[in-house]
Every structure is written in C-alpha cells, then in structure tokens.
C-alpha cells in the first residue's frame, strides 16, 4: 500500500493473531434501546461530573444531565429521552469491579431530541468559543483514557504545533471500531479533522493507519481527493505491528521523534487525536449533537454474530451480548477493550462508556486461563519486545521486591502497559500485572506523603497558633498586673523636663503602651496577611502556567480580597502608628511621607507585576488578558496618585519650617537633594544643548540651508534648553542660599544645648547637696543651725540655676 509520508520504526513490538475479520463480516448494527441506560459520572480521567438532574426528572435526548466539576472533568448528556429513575451506585466497567455513582435513565422510546444548537459558522468563531463548546458537548478522547479533549487542545494553543496526528492505527487484535467508523463516516471524520486543524493550526496533518485496513484507506484517500484536501492532510500507512497505535509509538513511526520521559507529545510540538474523537467533534460542531453514542466492536468466539454496533452510552453490556447472540455456555471470559490491554469484566450489567471500543466475549479456546507463572530465566525477550525501550526484567525484580524507588529510576512510569513483554515471556510471567501493581503502589505512597505533609503543616500551624495565644494571654496578664509602675517609670524617664511637659509626657507614655500593643498586633496581622498574599500569588501564577481556568478565577478573587484586607490593616496601622511615634519622631510629616513612599513603591511594583502578567498572558494568548488589562489602568492611576500625594507631602514637609534642630537638618537635607536634582537637571539640559548644537553642525555640514535647520526645530530647542538652564541655575543659587541659612540655626542650637546641659547638671548637683545636708542635719541636730544656713545657700544656688535653665529652655523653644 503506498504511503504519502515516510514511515519510520519504533523499537520492539509484536505480531499477535489479528482476529479482525470476524467483526467486519456484518454491516454496522443498531441495537434497539435497552430497558435502562446506566451513565457513570466518571467516564473519563479526572474529577467526576456533577449531576444536574434529580430522580424523576424527564430528560430529552441530548440534554445535559451532568456538568464538569473542576478543570479535568467533562459534561454528560442524556443518550435518549426518558425519565431519571435513579442516581445510585451501580457496577461500572472498571478493572476493580467496584461500583460507582451513576445516573439511570428509563427510556420512553420516543427519542425526542432537545433543541440542538450547532455551530455551523465555526470558522468565524474564536477558538476559545469552539473549545468551550466542545467541553459542553462532553467530548473526551475516545481512543484510550478519555482525556477531556478541550484540555488537550488548550495545551496546543500555547505551543507551535508541528504535527497533528490522527490516530487510526487501531493495532490491538479483534478491535475494528475505528476501521468501521472510517468506512461509515468518512466525510464526517475528514470534516472533524478540518475543525481540529482550525483549532490547533499544526504545520502538518497526518492520518496514521495500519496497512490491514485497505478499504478504509481507499475511502479516506477518495474523500480527501474529492474535498481537495490531499495536499493538506496526508495519509501514512504503517505496517501492522502491535502497539503501533500507542500514542508515543505512532508519533515515533510518523515523525521519528521520541516523547521524552515524563513529558507529553505537546511538549515536542505534536498533538494526537483518535478518529472517534474527530467524528465526535464533527457531530458536535456541525450537527450540534453531544457525545451520546459511539461505535463499539462486539466480537469473540462466544458471539454468534460478531459485528460493530453504534450504541448509546450507558447501554448495559448484557443487552449487547444478547443482541449479538451470545452463547453463555461458551463464554469463558468477558473483556472490555482488546485482549492485550483490556480488563476482565466481572459484571455483565456494566454499561458502555465513552471509551469502550470493544467487548470481547472469548471462549475458553480463545482466551485460555493464563499458564502458571514460572521463574524468570533471563532470556531477554521482553526487552526485545518492549516498545518503550525499557528493561522489563529489571522492572520485574524491583517491583517484585517492592523496591519501587529503583523501579521508578528505571522509568517504570514510561511503561504503556501494552502487554508485549507478557506476550513473549516464555515463563508466562504476568509482567504487566507487576508493573501496574508497582505504579499504583508508588502513586499511593505519593498520595500518602502529600497527605502526611499536609497534616504536618496543619499540626504545626495549630501549635504556632496555640503558642501565640498563650503568649498573648501572658502579656495581657502582665499588663494588668503592673500598670502603675509603668507610669512611674515614665516619670523617671523624663525627670529634667519642667512640670507641665513632664505631665504631658506622662499622659503620652500611658497612651503609648496601649498604642504600641495595638500597632504590634496590627503589624503581626499585616505580616500574616502579606504572607498569605504571597502564597496566593504563587498559587495563582502556577495556575496560570497550567491554565486551570476555574482555579485562576477563584484565586484571583481571593487575591483581591487579601489585597483589601492588607489595605485595611495598613490604614488601621497608620491610624494607630502616628500617635505612638509622636514622642520619638519630631516631625509627623516624616511618617506620612514615609508611608506614602512605601505606598507609592507598592503601587509601582503592582503596576510592574501586572505588566509582566499581561506580557505573559499575551505570550500564551490567555483569556484573562482583558481582565488583567482592565486592572492595569486603575493600578497605574493609583501609582500616579500616590506619587502626586507623595510629592505634595514632601513639599509640605519642606514648607513646615519649624525651627527644631531635626527639622532644620531634614530641611537642609531636602535642600541638598533638591540641589543635587537641580544640578542633574542642569547637566541634562547641558547635554541636550550639546546634542542640539551637534545636530545643527551636522546639518550645516551636510550643506542644508538655514531654513531647513529652522524647520527641523533644533534651534528652538536649543534656545529652550538654554533658557531652562538659566532658570535652573537661578533656582540652584537660591537653594544654596537658603541651605546655608537653614544650617546656621542648627549650629547655634548646639552651644545652647550645651549650656542647658550644664545648667541641668548644676541643678542636679545643688539638689543632691541639699538632700545630703538635710540628712546630715537629721543626724547631727547640734549643728542644725549651721547646716540650715548652708542649705539655704545651696537652695539659692539651685533656684538661680533653675531660672537660668528655664530661660535657656525658653530660648531653645523660641528657636
């Protein structure tokens, strides 16, 4: 069979008996409606869907009965019209044989469709709209695990795609569902591929198909030729070998690229979709029909009429077996999926789900009991057969001896569980069973670690909270115990101030502890809030990187809330903080300016962050771009506002020229900064002048006449700059003058302060002497008169010293 594309090879693989012809003898069957349809809520990888209907509700064919629950989840629709008879646990098609929550529909046999809303103008819609639509139509990957298609395609939006590969290989024995689908729905399939190509815009589109489907290939080629698409969509006919239909194997066959360990095809610019998915996409977009049915192969020696059927999801398997004429006495093992990768079904009541491609009812001859496992003889045939180039023997040792770490090291998770190794094993070791066990044990251990880490975090958080509470209680107890000594201490702190200031100070100090405590608490709260904010932001960026839309929205709202609380706390803090600082900082303006500066810096940072986020969003063409942009403008406005208020506050700070030393210093500093700024401005202006002159010279050199030079506007600019400089220099001289003025008083203050100090010492000395003398008087009453005289003299000295001190303080205050 000729192939338009070069086909490469992959390592290993096996050639089991095909057994495909049995099910292709009859045309596509249409079994009649069963008595009830059982629709499991978890038909796909990820979270279970959330039911929208109640027991007793009437539903129409195609009506949504369950919606997605989180990011990796899917919609579910009623396959026929009828009544919801129950929502309960039923046996589902799962290797465990466990039950799970299902919606049960009792058909009314009328098959009344609900109103269909197709998207015939998909070419004119945005990709996001089409993707959302596909999600609402419940489309999941129909080849294997049932990965929600829109999630896979969303991943493709972020990367440039080299290849869109349509997987029609269908390599597993017995299964012919894809073959039949291509034959029956060729045109639907091709149009589905066109829609997919519109969504992912890959450079190449290749349909990979095994050479045992001659009729399907022919039909496809014809269809492509008729639609004149044979240049855009290529058909690659690959030799029949199991497992060429494995995603990674088919990619290797068609592109000679290997998907690196732990990565997805999308990471190397390739996306793979099953033919069933393509046809389902066509049904959804063009016909408006959600995914409610699929083509499934009924085959096996126990069936009288093996065939492919188009079957409604939720149809019990028993119903299909009866339809195909199952001889239950012959039936040895019932398998969902193929003989290589399928699993045994314990319960015939289990329903068909979105990923059921085959029901194999094998007779004892066809599917004999596996032979007893024997010891590994190290023949190495498994390594020869492994399509993932792993070392099955090593993996067997490690999983057998529970050395999962080593098994992981040997890339156990790259195993696709194709069963080729078990197939060739001469000791009939169920290797895949071991690997599956190993994988689930590792996953379980990982989950346990996550859970225990989480518990540890919670435990530690609780411990920290309890300690904090205990500390707070202790602090409160202490505060209640000795409020009086604190006031005393305040007195001791300010003994040299005169009585009135000391009193005022006392009042201040009494207030201060309360204030301090409140501000401390607020600060702690603020720190906690900020930490939370950081965490949230981290989570948000992570979510954005992985485009988990729902989480992003939630996180965004949380971040906003957190911002609000932080803002509130900061406001409260500023309210509380200034009175606490009064005693420390001479200038309340300074605190305000500082706060404003901080606010401005924060605002600027947030603007920057937003800009970055927008850039990122633009890169990945994310949907939240608009919201980000809308956030940006208010952020910029806020930053500008803050800067303005900062400037005005600084001005105010500069203007409020109280003559205290600290302020004078601040002023001079301000002046110095201004001077510096002015100098820089002058330098810039000078540079501009130079440049302008140079430009003019250059123009002259080029021989342009004066008129042209005038027209260029350079001379005007030159004049402007020169005017500017003179203005700036004027300002500079002014400033330096004020600077020297402002510096002077501070110089004068210093000797004054010295004097005050000296006087204070004198007063203290006099006081000490007086107290000494009074003590002596008590001890020696005979010399009382003498001492009394001395005391009076000292008191006189003290009063003179005190008056002098008061004068000095007055002058200082005046200054």
């Amino acid at each position: 069979m000729p192939s338009d594309v070069t086909v490469f090879e992959f390592h290993g693989g096996i050639h089991p008996e095909q057994n495909k012809t049995q099910s292709l003898q009859l045309p596509l069957g249409n079994p009649k409606l069963p008595d009830e349809l059982v629709l499991p809520l978890g038909q796909h990888i990820g979270q279970m869907s959330r039911p929208l209907v109640k027991v007793g509700d009437r539903v129409l064919k195609g009506q949504t009965i369950a919606i997605n629950n989180g990011f990796l989840s899917s919609f579910l629709h009623a396959p026929t019209s009828g009544r919801i008879s129950a929502i309960e646990e039923r046996a589902i098609a799962h290797p465990s044989g466990l039950s799970d929550l299902c919606i049960i529909i009792e058909p009314d046999n009328k098959e009344t469709w609900c109103e269909l809303r197709p998207m015939p103008l998909w070419q004119e819609s945005t990709k996001t709209d089409v993707l959302t639509y596909l999600a609402e139509m419940g489309i999941v990957g129909m080849g294997g695990a049932g990965f929600p298609t829109q999630v896979k395609l969303q991943g493709a939006q972020k990367n440039d795609l080299d290849y869109l590969i349509i997987n029609a290989a269908e390599c597993e024995p017995y299964i012919t569902a894809d073959d039949m689908l291509i034959r029956e729905k060729t045109s639907h399939l091709v149009q589905g591929i066109q829609i997919l190509q519109f969504l992912v815009e890959a450079n190449n589109v290749i349909i990979g198909i095994e050479d045992n489907k001659e009729k399907a290939i022919e039909l496809l080629q014809n269809e492509l030729r008729v639609r004149q698409l044979d240049k855009q969509i290529k058909i690659a006919v690959v030799p029949t070998k199991y497992p060429s239909g494995g995603e990674k194997q088919l990619i290797q066959l068609l592109t000679d690229r290997e998907v690196p360990s732990g990565k997805h095809p999308i990471d190397i610019g390739i996306i793979c979709q099953n033919v069933g998915t393509c046809s389902a996409i066509y049904d959804a977009v063009v016909l408006g029909q959600p995914l409610i049915s699929r083509i499934t192969t009924l085959t096996g020696a126990a069936l009288e009429h093996p065939q492919n059927v188009e079957v409604l999801l939720g149809t019990p398997i028993e119903h299909l077996l009866n339809y195909a004429g199952c001889d239950h006495s012959q039936l040895q093992r019932l398998i969902m999926g193929g003989p290589m990768m399928g699993f045994t079904l314990e319960n015939q009541q289990a329903p068909i789900i979105k990923t059921t491609n085959c029901i194999l009812a094998g007779s004892a001859k066809e599917l004999p009991q596996p032979e007893p496992e024997q010891a590994c003889i190290r023949c190495g045939m498994c390594e020869q057969a492994c399509p993932a180039s792993l070392l099955p023997q090593q993996l067997l040792w490690f999983t057998k001896s529970q050395e999962f770490e080593k098994a992981e090291h040997y890339n156990l998770f790259d195993c696709i569980e194709c069963g080729a190794c078990s197939y060739v094993c001469p000791s009939s070791i169920p290797l895949v069973q071991y690997y599956r066990h190993g994988k689930s044990a590792i996953r379980e251990a990982r989950d346990a670690t996550i859970k225990s880490d989480h518990a540890k975090l919670r435990f530690e958080a609780r411990k920290a909270r309890q300690e904090a509470e205990a500390a707070e209680k202790e602090a409160k107890r202490l505060a209640r115990k000795k409020p009086a000594p604190k006031a005393d201490k305040a007195k001791v702190d300010a003994p040299t101030n005169d009585v009135t200031t000391a009193k005022a100070d006392n009042a201040n100090k009494a207030e201060k502890p309360a204030n301090n405590e409140a501000s401390k608490k607020l600060k702690i709260d603020l720190a906690i809030a900020k930490a939370k904010m950081k965490k949230l932001e981290k989570a948000l960026t992570a979510a954005q990187e992985e485009t988990r839309t729902e989480e992003i929205n939630q996180l965004q709202t949380e971040v906003n809330e957190q911002k609000n609380t932080i803002q509130q706390l900061e406001d409260e803090l500023t309210k509380v903080a200034p009175p606490a600082k009064v005693t420390k900082v001479a200038n309340p303006n300074e605190a305000g300016v500082k706060q404003l500066k901080i606010d401005a810096a924060i605002a600027k940072a947030s603007v920057k962050k937003l800009e970055k986020a927008i850039k990122k969003a633009e890169d990945i063409n994310a949907p939240e771009l608009e919201t980000l942009k809308s956030q940006l403008t208010p952020a910029i406005l806020r930053a500008n506002e803050l800067e303005k208020s900062l400037a005005s506050a600084q001005e105010a700070a500069a203007k409020s020229s109280d003559s205290t030393a600290t302020q004078a210093e601040e002023l001079s500093e301000q002046a110095k900064a201004d001077t510096k700024k002015l100098k820089i401005d002058i330098a810039i202006a000078n540079a501009a002048i130079k440049k302008a002159k140079k430009n003019i010279d250059a123009m002259k050199a080029e021989g342009q006449d004066d008129a042209a030079i005038d027209a260029s506007g350079l001379p005007q600019k030159l004049a402007e700059h020169e005017a500017n400089i003179t203005g700036l220099q004027q300002k500079l001289t002014d400033l330096t003058a004020t600077d020297s003025k402002t510096e002077k008083p501070s110089a004068e203050v210093n000797p004054l302060a010295d004097k005050i100090k000296k006087q204070k010492i004198a007063v203290a000395l006099a006081k000490a002497q007086i107290s000494k003398l009074t003590k002596r008087m008590e001890k020696e009453p005979e010399k009382a008169a003498e001492i009394q005289l001395e005391i009076e003299a000292k008191q006189a000295a003290q009063t003179t010293a005190e008056t002098e001190l008061a004068q000095l303080l007055n002058t200082q205050e005046k200054n």
Partner: protein, 200 residues
C-alpha cells in the same frame, strides 16, 4: 636527611592545607539541627495521634534518633517500621502491640444530631479538622482528618465514630500477582497438560 625533611615538610604543608579546607567546609556547610530527625519525621505518618507516647510525630522522631524502639507507631504500621529500619540500618521488628494495633485507614465522623456543641473534640484535634462553635453542631472535614482517634475520648456524648475509608475506583490499586510458587505442583511441564488441551 634532606629528603626526609622535604617529605615531612610537604606532608606538613599538605595537612595544613587540607585541614584549612576541612575547617572551612565545616563552617561553610554547617547543618542546623539534626537532619536524621527530619528524615525520621518524614517517614512517620503525621497523624499526631500520640499512640507512641509522645506528643506528636516529631517528638517521637527525636526519641527514635535518641535510641527509642521504632515499632511504636500503629498508624504507620509495618510499612513505616520497614522504612525506618532501612533508614536507620536496624532490624525491622514487629509492631509493639502495647501502643495499639494497625488498622485500616479511618476518618472520624460526628453523628451530627447527637452533637451538643461542647467544642471538646475541636480542642483535641491535632490538625484542626473539626469545624464548629460552642453550642453549635460540629462536623469533621474528612479530607483533613488523619484518623488519630484523639477526638473520641473527650466527647461527652460519644457521638463520634471512626469509619473506615472504603476503596473507591479512584483509590483502588492493582494487586501484586501471586508469584511463581502459587500453584505448587504445576511447575512441571506435564502438569500443564489439561490447560494445553483446553487451548488447542
């Protein structure tokens, strides 16, 4: 003589250099705390149940580092004992029954209509997994519950049950195959005859 002196000198210089490097490395790469305690703590199941006689998993980890037996942790069970034995290079011993039996994973469930809202279980829960307020009904956040049993005793009306977490399709895992010696007597080729007949 000079050769010996040169040799001694070179050795002396070398020892000084290496000594300096070692001394520097000791300061530069100094590890705060006891790393082995952290490693042991990471293996313990973090239920914080106190069945080992310590107030939480970390204190038990410290005790193990100081030589306490490794078999006092019922929630971790034999798997934890094995992991600890591997880490500390000691023999894996069976679980000490005095501290409790290994049970399947469980969560606490409050029979809500019987709850009187005393908050005693809330105070007992080491991971804050119980929600409620005074005189209001309490409930357990099942996802956060570690199944430590600590809320059972304080409850004055005995309205808390420990319920085993059953296997769901999400948590189900494949069994390990039984292995080659599972069907003794079937190892000789002739023993397989009936099966071979069936397949031909």
């Amino acid at each position: 003589m000079t050769t010996i002196l040169i040799a001694v000198g070179i050795l002396l210089v070398l020892s000084l250099i290496f000594g300096a490097i070692l001394g520097f490395a000791n300061v530069r790469f100094h590890v705060e705390g006891d790393p082995i305690v952290a490693q042991i703590d990471a293996i313990l199941p973090q239920t914080q149940c106190g069945q080992c006689g310590h107030p939480g998993c970390r204190p038990y980890a410290e005790a193990i580092a100081n030589g306490e037996a490794i078999n006092h942790c019922p929630p971790g069970g034999q798997a934890t004992i094995q992991a600890l034995a591997d880490l500390l290079d000691v023999e894996a011993i069976p679980l000490d029954g005095d501290h409790g039996e290994e049970t399947a994973k469980r969560v606490a469930v409050i029979r809500e209509d019987e709850c009187i809202g005393c908050t005693k279980c809330i105070q007992a829960c080491p991971v804050d997994a119980i929600l409620g307020a005074a005189k209001q009904m309490h409930t357990v956040i099942a996802d956060e519950c570690t199944g430590c049993d600590l809320c059972i005793d304080p409850c004055p009306v005995d309205c808390i049950d420990m319920v085993e977490i059953g296997v769901t399709t999400k948590t189900w895992s494949w069994d390990k195959p039984v292995g080659p010696m599972s069907r003794p007597g079937n190892l000789i080729a002739s023993d397989r005859q009936p099966l071979m007949e069936a397949s031909h």
